[in-house]
């Protein structure tokens, strides 16, 4: 069975061992991946690994740079391996893959979400008899490679794997499917909206209670609350009286939207409390963090009556925004505004 190695890292940052990218905002900051955030009930990381499994490809490793780790994270995300040198780990996994008799391997960086036929890519590489085949979208390279694990291990021989994979002579495999770079927070909103509108294969996890409105289990919708399609209400979410959820908004699991609040074109990430009588539009809410996409501003709201974590995090749980520390979030918001 072919193996897949998934690297969680978004564009614009660096991975130890790889050269700094031209689009990097800061060569010293390793930026996390939004692929770990739950959108419409599940994270891109889980969705992609499930898709690979359905295609007959086993994910043997999910790697992330150790600067993204914390004692909490390693307990809560056992499926992710944090490493100070991700590309060395990739090389090791390729070598092990060879030793267990697997020739074909897929390496993909999961910052961007790309819909493509992984089995077809592996078959293409095999048919072309190439050591490395890289996926491209038009002329733009994607960080998805199909490799011959046996031959590439011989080529690497202690060298720079990323450099070999990114060589100009790499054979191209054109991908025409849906791509979302998940580089900026607005990409996250776009992914949620595209999933709700059926523009990609990301499907809400739950039941379509009426056209365009999905709800997961344990949802409580109080009287006079209105949910206008398209919208997603996640597991164990409470929508209080007189609320309005509209314009492609998604409320992820374990969240509460309190009395009379309007949520418009907004993603409320898991375990968030949104207070009474607010007007939240064109935003991403994560606990006490509010990212307003229209104004390009990230705010830390310390007023617990306005926004906060819904449930107190247990000591072993994550306590910062998936993929972004508080400082990075403000930086990214500023970059997004400038772009």
């Amino acid at each position: 069975m072919p193996k897949a190695i998934v690297i969680l890292q978004s564009e614009g940052g660096t991975i130890a061992g790889a050269p700094a990218r031209p689009t990097s905002s800061s060569g010293q900051t390793v930026r996390g991946s939004m692929a770990r955030l739950e959108i419409l009930g599940d994270s891109m990381m889980h969705r992609v690994t499930s898709q690979l499994r359905r295609a007959g490809i086993e994910t043997c490793a999910i790697l992330a740079d150790s600067s993204q780790s914390s004692p909490n994270r390693e307990v809560c995300e056992p499926e992710v391996t944090f490493s100070p040198d991700v590309w060395s780990d990739v090389s090791e996994h390729l070598t092990r893959s060879t030793e267990s008799g697997n020739e074909a391997a897929l390496i993909m960086r999961l910052g961007p979400y790309v819909e493509f036929d992984a089995a077809d890519l592996l078959q293409f590489r095999s048919d072309q008899d190439q050591v490395v085949v890289r996926a491209f979208s038009d002329q733009n390279p994607l960080d998805i490679w199909a490799v011959d694990a046996t031959r590439i291990s011989e080529i690497i021989d202690g060298g720079n794997l990323y450099g070999i994979l990114s060589g100009e002579q790499t054979t191209r495999y054109l991908v025409s499917g849906y791509i979302n770079r998940l580089e900026y927070p607005r990409d996250l909103r776009r992914l949620a909206a595209d999933g709700l509108n059926g523009k990609c294969e990301v499907r809400p996890i739950g039941f379509e209670v009426r056209p365009g409105v999905w709800m997961a289990e344990g949802v409580q919708i109080e009287k006079e609350a209105r949910i206008v399609a398209p919208a997603y209400i996640g597991e164990n979410v409470t929508i209080s009286r007189q609320c309005l959820i509209t314009r492609g908004s998604n409320i992820e699991r374990d969240s509460i939207v309190d009395y009379g609040t309007v949520i418009e074109d907004t993603s409320v990430l898991q375990n968030s409390y949104v207070g009474i009588g607010l007007d939240v539009s064109h935003s991403i809410v994560d606990g006490g963090k509010l990212l307003n996409l229209r104004h390009g501003v990230a705010l830390q709201i310390d007023d617990a009556a306005v926004m906060r974590r819904n449930n107190e995090l247990r000591s072993e749980e994550r306590n910062w925004w998936y993929g972004f520390s508080g400082e990075e979030l403000i930086q990214v918001a500023a970059e997004d505004r400038r772009s």
Binding site: L278, L299, Q300, D303
Partner: protein
């Protein structure tokens, strides 16, 4: 004759939260105590404002309006904009891109204060008067 003081422009501090509000109100309070206070709050430096800060702004506006004056906001920072919109009070205030524009807005003569022009005719008694009015 109605009189009012000059337009006062005051900078809102970078942080307007529960702790800072008291100091801000102590500074702004005297400016609102005159007859027809006219205040412009420069919000360009605001980086953080919470519900206590928003409440303080509303109280000041209320105080100004009670005294037949007004309080306007100018140069709203993105952060201030977001919080005011979040709390649904953005439309309560009159806002301007710049302080100059806000100050100038106080000098516009409101429509209701323009005296009516006297009638062009003098009403005549009897049926002839009614006919002339009708024409």
């Amino acid at each position: 004759m109605l009189t009012s003081g000059p337009v006062v422009v005051m900078q809102v501090p970078e942080i307007l939260n529960g702790k800072e509000v008291q100091g801000f109100m102590q500074e702004l309070g005297p400016l609102l105590e005159c007859n027809r206070p006219r205040v412009v709050l420069d919000c360009s430096q605001v980086r953080s404002i919470d519900s206590a800060g928003v409440e303080a702004l509303l109280e000041c506006l209320e105080e100004a309006l009670k005294r037949d004056g007004d309080l306007k906001l100018a140069s709203l920072s993105p952060e201030a904009n977001v919080m005011l919109e979040l709390m649904r009070v953005a439309r309560v205030f009159e806002t301007f891109e710049g302080c100059d524009e806000a100050v100038r807005s106080f000098n516009f003569i409101p429509v209701e204060s323009v005296p009516e022009e006297p009638a062009w005719f003098t009403p005549l008694p009897g049926e002839l008067g009614a006919l002339k009015q009708a024409s």
